[in-house]
Amino acid sequence: MQMVNLKINGIEVEVPKDSTILQAAEKAGVHIPVLCHDARLNPFGACRVCLVEAVGNPRLMTACTTPAAPDMEILTNTEKLQKIRKTVMELLLINHPLECPVCDKGGECTLQDLTYETGLTNVRFDAEPNNTEVDHTNPFIERDIDRCVLCGRCVRICDEVVNIQAISFVNRGTETMIGTAFDQPWNCEFCGQCISVCPVGSLNNRVYLFKNRPWNLESVDSVCGLCSCGCYIKLDHEGNEVFRMNEAPEEGANHGYLCAKGRFGFEFINSMERETECRIRKNGDFETVDFEQALDTVSEKLGAIKSEYGSDAIGVLVSPRLTNEEAFLAQKFAREVIGTTNVYSLEPTTSLPEATYEDVENSDCVVTLNIDVTESNPILGLAVRKAARMNDAGLYVYYPSETALKRVATEMHTGTPDAVYAAMDELVAGKTKAAEALKGAENPVVVYSPYNTADLYYAQELKKAYPSLKLVAARSKNNSQGVLDMGAKNGFGPGLKETERGVNLRKGLENQSVKALICLGENVAVRTGWSEIERAYSHLELFMVTDPFMSETAKRGNVYIPVATYAEKNGSFTNLEGRVQEVQKAVDKGVCTDSDVIAALSAKLGKELTADVDEIREMIRKENPLYKDVDFNGGLVKYPYAIKGEFEKETVAAGEGSFYLYPAALRLHSGSYTRWSHDLAKVYGDAKLIINDKDAEAAGIESGNEVAVKAGDVIRVFAAEVDKNMTKGCVSLPEDYADTADLFTKGRVLKVSIEKSG
């Protein structure tokens, strides 16, 4: 790399060619104030706060946009510069109302900090506030045009990173403001990236609005527990209430980006609907009991079932909400305390992480197979967009309907699911442009859903054809990968070592050989492909469910124990890249964690298991070869395979009917947690049936109408949403709802008939 030598305030520094003066100054340890600059965005040079002086050059230059040249001598803090910076600040403050006490940005406002830094006390010019009304209409973003300093960071991040281009500069000159085309309401992904970069209080977080002030809050570094992306977050809390799930700019694998769920969906942690007391079913009704009584009941029943039917009549079902440590403890509890190999997870072990976000970002050819990645895994979606936009990588999208990736995709293959599979067949056969691109690429990446066996077939075939290909299994839940690594899976021990296989969960429940099920955090009733087995619970003598909420599954259990969410426990999660990251306890809601439940239950059954995170981690290091040398604070696990098994390719959609139905992801709801967040529910509360405008017109359906979907003997009613991006002849429904899970039990892709009801 070619290097450039220059002097900044007398400090000699060597930086790579094409670095800006600002980057050079950072390296030299010299502070240059900035307002419109953000390291994640292209240089803009709008605010003029970073002006510096180059010796021998009469003109001042902006540090954030001027490249460092050899032998430059830069001065950053001369008297002249101080004077100019003060004037720049004064000009910025002309239109900025000084309502700092009322503004929610107070305490973390760059303009406030800069005013203080420049020592500005009097503005020479008369302030001319615009007095525009504050826009309260958006459920997540509060917009106060008056406070805007037109730095353009929100516009740039929405364009360069999120690539939605929902907002832009409108009007000219003094009339310029940030707005949407034709003053329409903001219709975007609601990721809130614009809020996070706004240096003043112009774009504020509506969920946090007026709730607290930054200096009151304590912050804990943690990992978002709402999807498999594993975003590094800061949990801002005061006392035992979480006020914000905040980003850490440029930090973590997510570079400080968050999605709507991560930024606005934390409310469920503080939810008043959370349970605090254990329940036991007596004569058909739940009765409140204390923790000890609940455990006594469970241990007594476990003992009785074990002596009557043997230990293989007991099963432990682990949800991906559990931390690695808890999942490890759960499998230990099943295998060593109960003495059974019946430990289950609903996650498949057929595919494991291979590529990281970095691989995706630096890829020169990305293929997404039958997955709407920006919706299902928004931060992975950002990496895909970055590759396609910044590296000019070829992006080939295979999905039934048009997705947000359309504007960056090289080729978009849409159509009915059968047509998409036909296109994927051509890709595998190596006949298409995408196949050529994959062949010629140095770092090709394929993103696919590990939950659909048909997609697994295509991913496997592509991997065979292109050995340099890296696969990304876009898992859905926060610790979908970790629970498998910890051995909480039938037939797989810690470190994915194949072990003795226990009773198959589905069969065990159906033939009633499983008499007791300990369900740790799993909400089976809303899991696609599993909701049906829930009907088989009725014969269970013991069905213990732990969950922070009284979930659909918990309601069917006979013992319920409320447990902590990820904000209330220590541990670690493994994300879809195979990155292990630490989760830290921020608040205490007075409920125990899953590991406390397991440890207490083991003690009752006569074996001591520790609930201490450090001790469990030591055990993991000893017993799990994959995690032996992994740093629990951001280390990557090396997996033995990317995809394994025999898969059948999809032939025809199951069922009869005139419409194709397929599962689509909703970024605001990828789990049962998010449904407890009332803020997210403002946009998507219930499952909605997405239908094409022409089909809707033909069937006489309008947005909001109730529509009955019939797949075989299953009929469910949903509200319709007309969307012109939907392919004609297709309808889609989100996953993770009890009703939709019932439908998708019949198959991932279905032929259904729809009818307007009511």
């Binding site: 009322v102 309260h136 007026f210 002030r213 009151n216």
Partner: protein, 155 residues
């Protein structure tokens, strides 16, 4: 020599008695509180009051600055957002039994809302009554206004 003189003739005691005698004939300064109010000096800091605007709405914007600056941590604020995006002050509590009447809250308030009043009648039977809320504090403002009017002053 002077020392010996003082020792023999108890001059210091006589000097002390002189002070007593001097005050014996002066006007008495004892006030029979609570039947009689003591005079309050102009810079006295008593129980706080919170100003309201012409419509009777509190001037407080719930910025939390007084809560942060309070050295005895006697102020507790809870704010929230209304349905139309308006700022709501759900709770403004001031524990007078903890307050040290330093006046920092008054200093920190950026919107001229909280002020130190002239009232010093804090005595009460239970500790609970020492915790005052926004309602009491705005009522205090009316009391202070009346007191000031009576003296021909303006708050």
């Amino acid at each position: 020599m002077k020392n010996v003189f003082d020792t023999f003739f108890f001059t210091e005691i006589l000097q002390g008695l002189g002070v007593t005698m001097k005050h014996f004939f002066k006007k008495k300064v004892t006030y029979k509180y609570p039947y009689e109010d003591t005079p309050v000096f102009p810079r006295f800091r008593g129980i706080q009051y919170i100003k309201t605007d012409e419509e009777g709405v509190t001037k407080c914007v719930g910025c939390y600055l007084c809560q942060v600056v309070c050295p005895s941590e006697c102020i507790h604020i809870v704010t929230d957002c209304g349905h139309k995006g308006q700022r709501l002050i759900r709770k403004y509590e001031l524990d007078l039994s903890r307050c040290i009447y330093c006046g920092y809250c008054e200093e920190a308030c950026p919107v001229d809302a909280i002020h130190m009043g002239r009232d010093y009648h804090t005595v009460d039977n239970t500790r609970d009554n020492y915790v005052v809320n926004m309602k009491t504090l705005t009522q205090n403002y009316k009391k202070e206004q009346k007191m000031a009017e009576a003296k021909g002053e303006q708050l």
